[in-house]
Symmetry: none
Subunit: 401 residues, 2 copies
C-alpha cells in the first residue's frame, strides 16, 4: 500500500475514464454438490470475454482472514486504508438511511430495549418491535427538548434507530450506554476524553428524558446507545486522485459512502440494467464511475445460492452497454465475499478483473474465484486497486526521479 | 497484516478447534538430479489428499528474502509480527535450554574465549571447547558471589553458555562485551540507557570475577557476553484470540516459544507418531493445538536430503490419527524453509495448506512447493495465518460496520 500523500503527488488529471463495477458480496463458496461457487455456476459470457483481455486476481478488502463490513469494504475499493479511516457505527447507520450528516454531527446507533422496575435491561431489542412501532416511538423522542444541542431521532428498522446530535462543541469520545448484555442497568454516557464531557452531559439528559417519555411503552421502555462517531476526516478523491468521480448507486449506504470521498451521486433507480447505464451527461462530466450492484449481496445474505447466480447473470447481460462507452479502464470486483452458504459477509478474497489497453493480460479464461487465483494480479490488498486503476488510465506519473 | 488490537476486538471464544501442524524447516530446494524438493520427493498420500480439500499457498515468515531464526519463524505463525516482537539472543538461548526465565530476568549469551597476557582476545570461541568442559567452567562461574543480583550460569553447547541475572531494578539496555573480533580487548559493559547503569555495574563486577576464576584455564580464560535481553512484553493468545492454546512439542526452544504466548505445554516424548497424537484430555480442554515436528529441520541442517524426505513421510503416515479428531481447521506448514542443499535455514517461502469446511478449496492436487505456488492463498506473510485460521474456525466477527 502506497500512502495517499504519495498518490496525491503523482496523480494527474486527464480525459481517460475509469469504470469500477462493484458487484456487492461477489465472492462465494462452492456448492458442495457441484464444487462450483455462485460466480462459477453463473453463465457469464461477457465477463469471461472481458477477463480474457484483462489482468485478474484475488483481493483482500482489509487483510487475510478479516470479514469486512460494507464501510471498510468500500473505503478500500476507493483506495483508502480501511483500518486508518474507520467509520463509526453511528455514522454508518446515518449513511445507511440517507441522513445528511454534517461535519461536526455526533451520530449513534440506538436500540429500543426493555428494562424492569429497577431499570435492569431484560431485552436489549425490546422483542424486535416492528419498524412502524419504532417510527412511532422515534416521533415521541423527537419531541424531547434538549438543552445545549439540536438532535434528530430517525427510525432504521425493527428496534433500531439513529440519534444525531448537532451543535457547538460536540465530541464523539463517549462510551456506549449499551451494556451489550442483559441483567444489568444501562451504562451512563461518559467521556473517554475530557473534551467530550459536555456531549456526555447532553446525552445523559437525553437518555433520562427518553426514559420518562417511554415509561408507559413497555416492552420499548428504554433506549441503549452505541457507536458514537463523527464523519471521518478523509481526503476527497478529487484531492487524492485529481478525479471527478461519480457514483451510480441505489441504496443510501453506498451513496453515503461515495459521498464521504467526494463523489457526485447519481441515483440508479430501477433494475440492474439501469444501474449499469451511465447517462451521457454523467459520462461526459466525470472520469471515474463507481457503479454499485447490491442484489448479489442481498441474495448471499439470504442464503439463496440460485438467486445470487441469477443476479450475476443479469449483471453479465447488462455489461455490453457499460463497455460500449469504451472507458480506458474497467474494473469488475466486489467489496467483499458473501457466500450463500455462510449467509453473510465473509473473509474470502474477492475476484477482480482489470481491463485496459495497458493491463498486460494473463492466462485467465473465465471470471471466477479459482481462475482469478492464478491471475497476473496475484492476491493483493484491495486498497491497491485504485493505484492500479490510475496507472492503467495513465493518470500516475513516475514516483521518484 | 492486521493489528493485534483489531483482532482482539473481533475475536470470539467458541468450541471449534484449530490444529496447526508445524513441520520445522519444511520448505526445501530441488535436488539438481531430479528437480524435486524434499517434499516433492516424499510419498505423501495423506497430505496430498488433504491438500485437495484445502486452500494452499506459500508464506513468508518475516518478509521475502529474509531468513528467519526459530524465534521470528514461530512468532509469525502464532500471529505476532516478528519484527515488532523481537526476541533477544540471550532470551532465545534461555528458551533453547529450557531455562525458566522470569519477567524481569536479564539473559545474555556467553562465550568462553581466549585472551593473551594483555587481555586481548585471540580466540572468540576458546577453540570450541567440548560441552563437558563448558559445563565444568559454568560450575566454577556459578560459585562467584555477586553484590546486587542473583545469577545463573548454564552451559549450552561447546563454548556457549547462558548468563541470567535476577534481582531488583535490572535492565537489558547494555552493550555487548563481545567485540565480535580478535585483536582487541573485550568491551566494558555499558548502559545504552541511563536506567541500565546499575545492571552494567553488576555485569562488569561479574566479568572481572570471572576473569579471576578462569585465569588458570587457558584457552578458556575469559568470557564474552552479548544479546542482553528480557522476555518480550507480548499479549497472550488467550487475550488476543480468546483461545485456550496447547503446544505439543519435544524441544525446549519450541516449548519456550509457545509458553511466551501463553500456551499450555504438553511434552511429546518419543517419535513423530507420538508427536502427532493429541491426548483426549488435552483435546477436550483446549481449542488450539500447536504440534511441532523438529526432525525435518535437523535433517535439513545436516544436509541430509534423504533423511528429510523420510521424516516427511513419517509425518504423512501419522497424519490420519491427527485428522481423526476432526478439528474444524487444520493447518500444515513450517516455520521457515531448511533446504538440505543449503544446510541451514533459508529465505524461501514455506508451503501451507489450510483445511476447513469453509476454506474455498483451490485446484492444488499435491502438497508441494510448486503446487502451493498456484494455490488460492497466494503468497502472503505468515503473520496472516492466524487470522485465516480464526476466520475459518468462525471465531472472528465482522470488522467495521
Amino acid at each position: 500500500m502506497i500512502a495517499l500523500e504519495a498518490i496525491r503527488q503523482i496523480s494527474i488529471a486527464s480525459p481517460s475514464k475509469i469504470v469500477m463495477l462493484v458487484i456487492d458480496g461477489l465472492g462465494g463458496l462452492p456448492d458442495p454438490k457441484t464444487g462450483r461457487t455462485e460466480l462459477e455456476t453463473a453463465s457469464t459470457p461477457h465477463l469471461d470475454d472481458l477477463a480474457r483481455k484483462s489482468v485478474c486476481g484475488l483481493s483482500d478488502p482489509v487483510s487475510p482472514g478479516i470479514t469486512p463490513g460494507s464501510g471498510p469494504g468500500h473505503l478500500a475499493l476507493f483506495g483508502y486504508d480501511p483500518v486508518r479511516f474507520a467509520i463509526g457505527r453511528g455514522v454508518l447507520e446515518g449513511l445507511g438511511i440517507g441522513f445528511e450528516l454534517r461535519e461536526n454531527d455526533v451520530a449513534a446507533r440506538g436500540n429500543f430495549c426493555t428494562v424492569d422496575d429497577q431499570g435492569v435491561v431484560t431485552d436489549r431489542r425490546a422483542g424486535r418491535i416492528a419498524t412502524d412501532k419504532c417510527a412511532e416511538l422515534c416521533g415521541l423522542l423527537s419531541q424531547i427538548t434538549l438543552e445545549g444541542s439540536q438532535f434528530f431521532v430517525w427510525p432504521v428498522r425493527d428496534h433500531r434507530f439513529l440519534l444525531v446530535l448537532r451543535g457547538e462543541g460536540l465530541a464523539a469520545e463517549i462510551n456506549d450506554t449499551d451494556p451489550q448484555k442483559t441483567g444489568v442497568t444501562p451504562n451512563v454516557a461518559s467521556a473517554t476524553n475530557p473534551g467530550a464531557k459536555h456531549t456526555a452531559d447532553i446525552l445523559n439528559q437525553f437518555v433520562r428524558k427518553a426514559k420518562e417519555v417511554l415509561a408507559g411503552h413497555r416492552p420499548s421502555n428504554m433506549i441503549l446507545l452505541r457507536g458514537f462517531s463523527r464523519l471521518p476526516d478523509i481526503p476527497s478523491m478529487g484531492e487524492t486522485y485529481k478525479l471527478k468521480p461519480a457514483a451510480i448507486a441505489r441504496y443510501p449506504m453506498y451513496k453515503g459512502l461515495a459521498k464521504l470521498v467526494g463523489m457526485t451521486i447519481f441515483d440508479a433507480d430501477g433494475d440492474i440494467e439501469k444501474a449499469l447505464t451511465i447517462s451521457a451527461d454523467c459520462y461526459d462530466e466525470h472520469d471515474f464511475f463507481f457503479v454499485h450492484v447490491k442484489e448479489t449481496d442481498s441474495a448471499g445474505e439470504d442464503g439463496d445460492f440460485n438467486r445470487k447466480v441469477k443476479v450475476i447473470e443479469q449483471v453479465d447481460s447488462a455489461l455490453p452497454q457499460l463497455l460500449s462507452l469504451k472507458p480506458a479502464v474497467v474494473i469488475v470486483t466486489g467489496d467483499h465475499s458473501t457466500p450463500a452458504l455462510l449467509k453473510g459477509h465473509s473473509w474470502h478474497p474477492v475476484p477482480i478483473l482489470l481491463y485496459s489497453q495497458w493491463c498486460r493480460p494473463d492466462k485467465v479464461e473465465r471470471f471466477s474465484e479459482s481462475a482469478c487465483a492464478a491471475g497476473g494480479l496475484g492476491r493483493f490488498p484491495a486498497v491497491d486497486i485504485m493505484p492500479l486503476a490510475m496507472a492503467n488510465a495513465l493518470k500516475l506519473t513516475k514516483f521518484g526521479a
